[in-house]
Symmetry: C2
Subunit: 483 residues, 2 copies
């Protein structure tokens, strides 16, 4: 850009971060804490998808649903908790948790953390160079050491006749809607689909969940989707598997939408949520100027450095690298990438990139935790039975009915749930654990520590679960394994 | 005993277990599963204190309290959850969880597990010999290999003028009462005291909690007692520290009781619960016939074998050995003692009694977990800061305010809580962890796995907490430690 030179002090930084979601914030923060100057560029809200259109609003909508479900299962409260949710209060609470979609607080945090901030649309412009469109102007930033692309992902809409004109909901609209649609069709049975079906059903929508495959939550253990489908059905949602949407129509702008299924059946709804996958937000960040293909996921090594870029100055951290599309995993990668960037900037050549090293995002492949905040909750970490088998491990699958655990029965009358652990029989450590049931979300971290810590089974016998908690399922799993 | 000889087949067993609480059941079950014959003797209900007068009924009373407290802190539910608890439903639920104080189910379980059962009062009668008073008769049992005393503990009442005549509640009456006392005085600020104060206050009692020392839960981190005291006070209980009871009077059998304090003040109440400690149930089990002192705690090694008994045939498992007076810890000891008994019976001389070995109850000293089911919950494992320092470790104490964790804020409006981890700076592992706050009970097992697994801090960084759960406090603790 004429008039801006690479030598202009304020426009040269050690690290330039594209995207101010939790991942970008953490890359910049770590690099800065380790002595580097950092600037972060964001065209939308500082705080990213998670703060405004994903984790925060979705969980703010879901927490009253699970709290009510929990209370309903407790004698002495059953009746009181059977009243409908106060929708207005729930939506207002959600609005508060998204700071009413304003990012002042997060901008202030960047400032307090010593990270420069530029609001605008950033594009790579060759090695180490970033051009930012800030309204009418442009600004050129130059990186001494690294550029980290942390632009995340967006909802992927299928190419269906009439879809654009029908103004479908994506995760953004589903988490930020200001009123309850009387009829809601949800397309897709992954995490977004089942969470939003749960939330809006509890808030009063007549919900139809349409899933192409045979079940919900297809990436998890099969019983997870089965238990969630059962609960959604009991809550009054229609769960339909094995169906495809062939078209969506909305003839009047304020009228209802019609969803056409492959068999010709038509479903009329006020809103249609498509939760059918994610695409990387890399289509307009100038990847072509550094020899990469726009719109692709960035292929990275365990330090999150993009492969195949000369001199290794480009990093792809968070959703964009497609390793694990979860806020906490993006932040994890960010801590590791930030440390790797700083170490390399300081001339370190022997980074700690071995398995579980300080500069290796090993958990991305071995111990990714995830909680689905439905009723029942689903919580999993590491490999599923199918994944472990596919990876060639000699495994044993150990199941236990959570309803038979004393602490679960005390937690909720008629508690239904299931636990599974996958044992690596050669090393006698756990490869993965899944819990499904009320309140298992906080139980997950015990499994995450066991899997990431590679704690041997004979030591896990000494990790005594407190009685009578739901965690006692750990003892039952070990006993079942011992036989 | 005339008429019964040691050679009578049905009265000679490999293992004789005194006491059919969870500990005794597990000793017998493990020994039997490992090939030994076992008989268990119980004079009261099979299932023990835990099933009828401790864990089960107390948690059945407390779960509605915490569920209501949780629901009250959620927008959209607040109003509905503010109604009083349905006391009748809560008490009926508690009755169901104690099987109405009938042990048929547990007796059946013993039978199905292949364990013989004798109902009666058992006393040791010299080495390997047990005399059981069964109604009018006596029966003599002989052990080939081991006798395990698993008779547990009872409430310890102080020697106060008028106390016996005043018919005070102990933990038994407090967990099994069939109506709500309008006024309840609770003496003692340990786990029983704070749990029962919480339960009965929520069910409508005017509760006064009297504590001799300066705070509640004196064996735990100080902030635990502080947060529980704050919550009890907000719930309308009177919490008074630094006071001693000098006398209790109940003049009319059906009239109120008067509690006299050291300053002369008198408090009138309908019931007075003494939760002032436990005594071993070893006063009437014939310890004197094998050279031990009746009424003392049994001193045992890490396999739970009683020290100082010739030929090592006597075991003391669970509360009686005073290592850790908790059901889950008794069961843990029972698994280890059962395995040690079986190994020794089979002539094994090299038991695995090293630290964390299969025949060593190492967790008793390094990783005892405990959950206090108050509102807020208290959950701790391992050493407190004071204990770690006293033990001579070079420690760092790391605290974090749970209210600042996103998942906690989503869980409950105005979430209040605190987390602390004690780092062994020489080994960079955790010595202890304490969480206080709503829903931390299931979070505890993550800490138990970390402490018992001795997972190094640099590996704990790879144990990523799922966002946005309360478990994210783990990341905050690690960040705080890193500084």
């Amino acid at each position: 850009m004429p008039g801006t030179t690479e030598t202009a002090g304020q426009d040269t930084y050690d690290v330039i971060v594209l995207g101010a979601g939790p991942t970008g914030e953490n890359v910049a923060d770590r690099a800065h804490a380790l002595g580097l100057s950092a600037v972060i560029v964001e065209s939308e809200l500082v705080g990213g998808e998670c703060s405004y259109w994903a984790c925060m609003p979705s969980k703010a909508l879901l927490r009253p649903v699970t709290a009510r479900a929990d209370a309903r299962r407790v004698p002495g409260l059953h009746q009181a908790a059977s009243a409908p949710l106060d929708t207005k209060a729930v939506l207002a609470h959600r609005d508060a948790f998204t700071s009413h979609w304003k990012d002042d607080g997060q901008v202030q945090w960047l400032d307090s953390a010593g990270i420069d901030f530029v609001r605008g649309k950033a594009r790579l412009d060759g090695p180490r160079r970033v051009v930012v469109a800030t309204g009418a102007d442009e600004r050129v930033l130059t990186a001494r050491h690294a550029v980290a692309v942390c632009t995340g992902s967006r909802a992927l809409l299928p190419d269906l006749p009439g879809l654009t004109a029908a103004r479908p909901w994506t995760s953004r609209e589903a988490t930020s809607a200001q009123s309850v649609p009387p009829r809601l069709v949800v397309v897709g049975g992954g995490v977004v689909g089942v969470e939003m079906a749960t939330a809006w059903r509890a808030l009063g929508s007549a919900v139809t969940l349409l899933v192409r495959g045979g079940g919900l939550l297809p990436k998890m253990e099969p019983f997870a989707g089965e238990l969630v489908a059962e609960a959604l059905t009991e809550a009054g949602a229609a769960v339909r598997t094995g169906v495809s949407v062939t078209a969506v129509r909305r003839e009047m702008p304020n009228g209802p939408a019609t969803v056409v299924l492959d068999g010709g059946e038509q479903i009329v709804a006020d809103e249609v949520l498509f939760a059918t996958g994610r695409a990387p937000r890399t289509d307009d960040v100038g990847l072509e100027t550094v020899g990469l293909e726009p719109g692709t996921w960035l292929e990275v090594d365990d330090t999150c450095r993009v492969r195949g870029v000369a001199d290794g100055w480009l990093y792809g951290v968070g959703d964009v690298n497609h390793r694990a599309l979860l806020t906490h995993q993006g932040k994890y990668q960010a801590r590791i990438a930030g440390a790797a960037i700083a170490a390399r900037a300081q001339g370190t050549t022997d980074l700690d990139t071995g398995r579980w090293g300080a500069h290796a995002a090993t958990a991305d492949t071995a111990a990714v935790p995830q909680v689905v905040f439905t009723d029942p909750e689903v919580a999993s970490v590491g490999l599923t039975a199918a994944e472990a088998e596919h990876a060639g491990h000699r495994t044993r699958v150990v199941d236990h009915d959570l309803g038979n655990v004393a602490g679960a029965g005390l937690y909720a009358d008629g508690y239904r749930g299931r636990a599974r652990m996958i044992v690596d029989q050669d090393r006698e450590v756990l490869l993965g654990v899944t819990f499904v049931g009320p309140a298992v979300g906080e139980l997950l971290h015990s499994a995450t520590v066991a899997v990431a810590g590679e704690v041997p089974l004979d030591r896990l016998w000494h990790a005594v679960p407190a009685y009578p908690t739901i965690s006692e399922v750990w003892l039952r799993l070990l006993e079942t394994y011992r036989g």
